[in-house]
Symmetry: C2
């Protein structure tokens, strides 16, 4: 029995969520350790709609670490991937030496891993797949090597924003002060159950071109934008406090306004970068106008937008406003088909927007500007998948065909 | 003879130029006096291509002040127009009382005026017509009332940027510190003859919608953008010094980079405004990409862009690069017709861009994105038109039919 256990790989599968920052992270003070120039705050999206699934297999017979992402084998020597593997192994070794090893033995620590990971959403959705991806990787590796406890500092070294995907609900990434980055960690502000009325819509825009990547984009911004430096030092600290207060008090108007202002300021610093970086296209601009005119029509802030390093809008609103707002989106961005499959995810009741509201918004419709809408809400952090039929690797530790 | 002189109006006609800021003015610290939150610097464009012409008639028999703009009578009680009329009359009275009156008598000072003004460029060109307009108004009124000397402080009260159109060449508007605005004046940095190789191209973009006006736009920015405050206080003072140095030294690369960075930062503060303001559309973004890729191809900064409160690019380059760059513009923004009348103003030699250059730029052509190009250069300040046949008013003081 022992022989067969050693011959067959040990498999563990986990899932991890995407997160959307409402106080944005843009710029590192240390490229290698991935230490940010300011704190940030995000909402973890529900994994029922958007998630990464990762299976890690460990086995004595594996000759080398290998990784398959969305069906394709990738270079395992990628420095950030190596950082995560190294840090998890270091932690496992430390715990073993401290006599705290539960599920692995010293032999297990030296075993190579096979990693297989998939997203349940297209890369074209422009959602920060690296956050969910590295969160899932670190969480799965930790399970495989029997490591528990604070893992966001390791996920951070894979992809900065991945540290926030290690928790559910509303999560802050505290920038920290130490040079070694030990205090640059994510922390849950409130769990996903805190604000059940909050709804999130991802408006997947039809992009005209592939935008510049966030890693090189933020490097150029740190080097050239005086406004980014000012934002990080003088705007964000106070904004973090206000945002935490708005989240804790479930003050939607305050939350929404801070979210929009912060998204705009982030894109402003991209424009202040030299050469400038544009992530907002005309569809994004139109969504921004739509939201402001919708709010103006009602004389209150009912809907907010946020844009990451791409043209897709993430919309925040309360449950009761979703049907009408979705109808407006469909009206001003008429889909190609008759609208079937335009809404994915959480069901949205049908509602009509009044003619008065449409006139009050008064935008020129932009056919096919938005491909589809993902309807979701705040959700939990990474999870272990118990059902062995859901492993992405065969019992031999290779991708399922 | 005296009777007939008093019966026939006294006519004076002047022209004034448009100017393009390379260190931008955005935001007032005093709305009524039009005092800016930062200094700015502009290039006065040549009146052979772009100018306002204004005729002022004074006559004892006129019952009231009247004004016709581009063929249409406008409300003369407009506060900014009234400010200019009041200030010119105050100055004329003061000089008269100081015994310095040369061409007017006390009777003349109380005479009403008829004003007629036209631009030789379409409003659709999106060029700040109010700058040339108010500069021309103030210059013409000063001629009519026999006032000489510093007039930029009066033009400023018509439209902030108009003060810079009171001088030719390279002009700074010093923000000043006094509460009464007496030290907020324009000053020539270098005359138009200083840098004869400098060329300016106005790329008139096809706008999708009318953008928000600069007066209300900058009000909202001052009220809501933290980045604008930082820019005005901490970025512009040093940038003004650098820009003056670049202009004096005819250092094109330095001038060009500062110009682009300042334009981008101005638009960044617009995006940081709440609700955000967008002046750059996809044509503008494409021009920005074109310029940076062109410069990158040659490994030096040969061309710069600047955008005011609208989508039209103003391009700065040196004479020797004009033909090739214009060819590229025509290549990546194919005009509707065969390209006739695509270039207006100073003649541009035909040149081809190499295939290698086009590939290096590598943008998707955007047909009809640019309506036409105005080719011009730096030019002189306001001028009196001596030829009486060019008066815009009849000898009776009414618009010519």
């Amino acid at each position: 029995f022992k022989v067969s256990r050693m011959e067959k790989p040990h498999l563990v599968t986990c899932t991890a969520p995407v997160n959307i920052a409402v106080v944005k992270y843009w710029g590192k003070r240390n490229e290698e350790l991935i230490l940010p120039i300011n704190s940030s705050l995000s909402v973890t999206l529900h994994q029922d709609q958007l998630k990464t699934t990762t299976t890690v297999a460990t086995n004595k017979s594996f000759k080398e670490d290998r990784i398959w992402l969305n069906g394709k084998e990738e270079d395992v020597t990628h420095p950030r991937l190596q950082s995560c593997l190294r840090e998890i192994r270091r932690l496992a070794r430390k715990r073993h030496n401290d006599g705290d090893a539960t599920s692995t033995d010293l032999t297990g620590l030296s075993q190579k891993v096979h990693i297989c990971s998939i997203n349940n959403f297209p890369t074209a959705a422009g959602l920060a797949s690296s956050a969910a991806g590295f969160a899932c990787l670190v969480y799965s590796l930790a399970q495989a090597f029997g490591v528990e406890g604070e893992l966001s500092g390791i996920a951070r070294q894979g992809s900065g924003s991945a540290c926030r995907s290690m928790y559910g609900g509303f999560v802050q990434w505290i920038m920290g002060n130490q040079e070694d980055g030990k205090d640059s960690l994510a922390q849950q502000v409130e769990p996903e159950s805190h604000w059940p009325e909050l709804r999130i819509l991802v408006l997947v825009a039809s992009a005209e071109r592939k935008p510049i990547g966030s890693t090189s984009g933020m490097q150029t911004s740190v080097q050239t934008s005086g406004l980014l430096k000012h934002r990080a030092e003088s705007v964000v600290p106070h904004r973090m406090e206000e945002m935490i207060k708005a989240v804790r008090g479930k003050d939607f108007a305050a939350f929404a306004e801070l979210t929009m202002k912060d998204s705009n300021q982030f894109h402003a610093t991209c424009l202040d970068t030299y050469p400038p970086i544009f992530y907002l296209n005309r569809v994004s601009q139109q969504v921004i106008h739509l939201v402001h005119r919708y709010n103006r029509h009602y004389g209150e802030t009912r809907v907010a937008y946020s844009f990451d390093a791409g043209p897709n809008a993430v919309i925040f609103t309360l449950q009761q406003h979703v049907p009408e707002f979705v109808h407006l989106v469909q009206h001003f961005f008429p889909p190609e088909t008759n609208g079937e499959n335009f809404i994915k995810g959480l069901p949205v009741k049908h509602a009509a927007a009044s003619e008065q509201l449409k006139q009050s918004v008064g935008l020129e419709p932009m056919p096919k500007g938005i491909n589809y809408v993902i309807s979701t809400k705040a959700g939990p952090g990474p999870r272990v998948v118990k059902d062995p039929s859901l492993h992405l690797l065969t019992p031999d530790g290779f991708p399922k065909p």
